[in-house]
């Protein structure tokens, strides 16, 4: 239950914020979007072991797709959001699926290229120009509420994964030979996580037009990729840590603009500290030396 607490606290805080400080709704919504994207990235990085940078691209494509759909089709905002999120999820799964055969470092490089190339192509193409979308104040408020709901949903997903068959399969994925020998198709399990996190990130990105955030390639630039990477690195499998990291990394530039230039420095320091902690931490899971209690238990078991 405590694992879901950060998500619940953020949702409760965000629900109260508009009445306390109405002007802070848009910055708070951007932070919520980073929490969602960071949780999605931590699902992939922490659970499936996939350093997937392309989340930034799906995030950007979600925003652009919603704006483009609204311009082309006479549909209400929420229908455009649903269409755009579904289309981007399908594209994300189709592109990522063959990449799952790659080694993780190659996978990271290819997805980094996707994260840079897709926003650049979409922004620089001249066939179709997306105009700024105008949505009503009511839609903006609805968007904020939906973002809170998605944060709760992402939290529920992350918490459920801990004790689910899928979570077990992903934890087992480190040993591919053993997975194969028990009939586990680990690539399929990883693809399911990719679909879940891509759809979560794309849905979060689809809300961007309603927040009047420019859906240009700069938004999905190096800053955003680095921020999402830092959140995923800090969090690992701990989704609650993703919330804390997103609050700091995305919240500082939104609420303290003077410090926004230091965001990358902060992200870099966080990644370094996290990596150092993993290397030098005395309690490193499977590599922990056997303590005397465990040794006694083993001897007792042997005596049986």
């Amino acid at each position: 239950m405590w694992r879901s607490m950060p998500f619940l606290l953020v949702a409760a805080g965000s629900a109260l914020l508009p009445s306390a400080a109405p002007a802070s709704m848009v910055p708070a919504a951007v932070v919520l979007i980073f929490i969602i994207a960071g949780t999605a990235a931590s699902l992939q990085f922490g659970w499936a072991g996939l350093p997937d940078f392309s989340i930034a691209a799906w995030f950007f494509a979600g925003g652009w797709g919603t704006a483009a759909t609204m311009q082309v089709l006479p549909l209400p905002f929420w229908a455009c959001v649903a269409l755009s999120a579904a289309a981007i999820t399908i594209v994300a799964v189709a592109i990522t699926s063959p990449l799952l055969r790659l080694r993780s470092e190659t996978f990271a490089m290819v997805t980094l290229a996707i994260a840079v190339i897709i926003p650049a192509i979409v922004s620089h193409q001249t066939f179709f120009t997306v105009r700024t979308v105008t949505v009503s104040a009511a839609t903006l408020a609805e968007t904020y509420d939906v973002l809170i709901a998605i944060v709760l949903l992402a939290g529920a997903l992350a918490v459920l994964l801990e004790r689910s068959p899928l979570g077990l399969a992903l934890r087992a994925g480190e040993d591919r030979i053993l997975c194969g020998s028990i009939g586990l198709n680990i690539r399929r399990s990883k693809l399911l996580v990719v679909a879940m996190s891509a759809s979560t990130a794309a849905t979060a990105g689809c809300m961007l037009p309603a927040l009047q955030v420019n859906t240009n390639s700069a938004f999905a630039g190096f800053d955003t990729i680095a921020a999402i990477l830092a959140i995923a690195m800090i969090a690992g499998r701990r989704s609650s840590a993703a919330v804390m990291a997103a609050l700091i990394i995305a919240g500082i530039p939104q609420f303290v603009p003077a410090l926004s230039d230091y965001r990358l420095l902060l992200a870099g320091a966080a990644i370094f500290t996290c990596a150092a902690w993993r290397v030098f931490s005395p309690n490193r899971g499977g590599n922990t030396p056997i303590d005397s209690l465990k040794l006694t238990q083993m001897m007792e078991a042997g005596a049986e």
Binding site: L160, G180, S181, I182, L184
Partner: protein, 270 residues
């Protein structure tokens, strides 16, 4: 009357560079039988296991499994399909477990994999809520005498317990054929006897077993049929009592040239 054929391997060949691991090997496994694949170190036993479980693909030859209307060809199948579609499960020479998971989780994962319930999104529900799966996993742990250790990490178990856990996990996959690579290695005589009891129980529940070994003791006491390998080729096959006395088998084991006394090769070379 001979039992029904379950698996037929024909003219298998496998090489690692200039080293021939399996040389034109053919053998047959029957349902409800324990078959021993025996031979000295380097005879190619583990390579045969790897081919049966899909970890290696033979350079030539066929492996046919007769469990459905049409025989399944295993020699080009992926490992996870061999487990799911053909029901051929293997264990490893050194017990291979998910060491950071608990004993119960190790068996539960096999339960979920066997029933293909990892893919649907509905199975994001906590696994402990799936009472049937937990009961089935506990059943196999109980049969292998591990129910008292179900909450412990697999990496903390002793070697014989790890071996039993590996068998419980394999049995939870409800295999048609269980391939065990040198299951007696590192076990005492008493533990070997316990292992033999477990394997006989598995045979009684309709699982065919293929086990490899360097020691003929387990094969003689347990196997219905024995295939003796030497340098990747079959030198003898039949019932253990008929096979173990043959000169070709003694040559394979002890390195005795034809017409010489039974002196191990190591002393001859000295």
């Amino acid at each position: 009357m001979s039992a029904q054929v379950l698996l037929r391997a024909q003219h298998l060949r496998l090489s690692f560079g200039s080293l021939t691991a399996i040389d034109d090997l053919s053998f047959t496994l029957r349902k409800n039988e324990i078959t021993g694949l025996v031979g000295p170190e380097g005879a190619g036993k583990t390579s045969v296991m790897d081919c049966l479980s899909g970890l290696r693909h033979p350079a030539s030859g066929r492996i046919e499994l007769y469990n459905s209307a049409r025989p399944l060809l295993l020699e080009r199948m992926e490992p996870f399909r061999i487990v799911r579609n053909a029901g051929v499960v293997r264990t490893f020479r050194d017990p291979r477990l998910f060491r950071r998971m608990t004993v119960l989780e190790n068996v539960l994962l096999a339960e979920f994999a066997a029933r293909s319930i990892i893919w649907p999104v509905g199975n994001l529900v906590p696994y402990r809520w799936n009472r049937k799966a937990v009961e089935r996993a506990r059943y196999w742990l109980d049969r292998m005498g591990l129910s008292h250790a179900q909450g412990r990490k697999a990496g903390e178990l002793t070697a014989p317990m790890q071996r039993r856990l590996e068998i419980a996990r394999a049995a939870a996959l409800t295999p048609k054929l269980l391939c065990m690579d040198e299951p007696d290695i590192g076990l005492t005589r008493r533990e070997c006897d316990q292992l033999a009891t477990h394997l006989l129980e598995l045979r009684q529940s309709g699982i065919a077993v293929l086990l490899t070994g360097q020691d003929t003791r387990l094969a003689e006491s347990l196997c219905d049929h024995v295939v003796v390998l030497d340098r990747g080729a079959c030198v003898a096959a039949g019932k253990p009592v008929d096979v173990c006395g043959r000169p070709a088998v003694q040559r394979a084991w002890l390195g005795v040239p034809a017409g010489h006394d039974l002196v191990p090769r190591i002393f001859v070379s000295c």
